[in-house]
Amino acid sequence: MSDTDKLIDRLSTGLEQARPLPNIDLMAIVWLLASALYVVAIIHLTGPIRPGAWDQLVTTPRYLIEMIFGLAAIVFVSLAAFRAAVPGAVSKGFARWGLALTAIWIGSYVVGLEYPTLEPSMLGKRHSCFHETLIYSIPPMIAGFIIVRRLYPLRPITTALGFSLAAGMLPALYMQIACMYSPDHILQFHILPAAMVGLIGAAAAWPLLRARL
């Protein structure tokens, strides 16, 4: 009996049931919806949103498009990240869509530094928006780790970077409604902490996910 045969024998003897997890896209969507609801709820609970923000979505199409790109980026990044936790489930093309949409979303604020979508204003400023974005992202990020630990991410750092970034982008996006609108403020106080959450997640991936491979 070869070593490989012995290994097969050892692995299959007394095999325990390992029920497959639900469809990965479904898990990603459930995580995303639950995280989005939590973020919206906590932002509303911790302070008023910018007066007139909802009206601006209707009256300023570019603002609406900006928000739609942000939302689409979050959806693609989340799906790509969770798919990456299942061997062979994610394609490079799909992951690139997520990156491209994120780049377009952030790029729109960079363009906005010169040609702002809305008249920059301090109206509705939340004094701790940087810390809020950072802190509100943590529970969705932890939930992401809990889900992904049950799967098998072959690239744990990329996977964790993806869902942590999505976790950070959720409050960052909603801050465009809840907090003051000014592209430099958005980049510095909303998007920067979201990027930091992505990096924190990537750093945590090594001890939390790599050891399981």
Binding site: S2, D3, T4, D5, L7, I8, D9, L11, S12, T13, G14, L15, E16, Q17, A18, R19, P20, L21, N23, I24, A85, V86, P87, G88, A89, S91, K92, R150, L151, Y152, L154, R212, L213
Partner: protein
């Protein structure tokens, strides 16, 4: 209970006659059914599945990297990974992309991880013996499509350090290059192998 033992027996025979990438849709569907049964705790189906996959993975490794001592170790690493990952397989998805994503990953990992596995015996070997061993090894390795596709510099670096098991310093001295250069070549060679494996997957 997995009820198609005859299919399993037939499958095992067929395994020996086909190359990995030429696995038919039938095999794909059959493995999917076997894994689904294994997820329900069916030992017999799982044993049969792992037996077939061990053969498939071995052929895959040899066709890509040629025959080297660590092929068997790599096959075992793959089987362990498949065992750990089995919960992540969704029976509604095709089996092969799931399987080969794991195999590719472990193949590259095996090249990253091999260090001085033969060093103890080689420490005692003469230069002449080592030269013969190196040449034989290289002949066997170049039967592998991907190793053969590497540039000679990268192929030598990989062969001496990751296959024969020399230390970086020993391999660098043998190739008459600095240790830093050797490490760069090994790193790039592994990167190149990884890219080639992924390119195969996307073709």
């Amino acid at each position: 209970m997995y009820a198609t033992e005859t299919a399993l027996t037939g499958g095992s025979t067929r395994v020996s006659s086909w190359m990995t990438e030429a696995t038919s849709d039938n095999d794909n569907a059959r493995w999917s059914v076997m894994m689904a049964a294994a997820q329900q705790g069916d030992e017999q189906a799982y044993r049969a599945l792992l037996g077939e996959l061990a053969e498939v993975i071995k052929r895959y490794m040899i066709s890509r990297f040629g025959y080297y001592d660590q092929v068997e170790d790599c096959v075992q690493e793959c089987l362990l990974a498949i065992h750990r990952a089995r919960r992540s397989y969704d029976p509604k998805r095709p089996f092969k992309p799931w399987l080969f994503a794991i195999v590719r990953h472990k193949a590259v990992d095996s090249f990253r991880g091999q260090r001085r596995h033969q060093a103890s015996s080689l420490d005692l070997a003469s230069e002449e013996e080592l030269a013969i061993s190196s040449q034989e090894m290289e002949d066997q390795l170049t039967q592998g499509q991907l190793i053969a596709a590497l540039s000679p510099d990268y192929r030598e670096a990989i062969t001496l350090t990751k296959i024969i098991g020399l230390s970086s310093a020993e391999a660098a001295a043998r190739l008459d290059i600095s240790e830093g250069t050797l490490k760069v070549r090994v790193h790039r060679a592994i990167g190149r192998l990884k890219s080639m494996l992924e390119a195969e997957h996307h073709e």
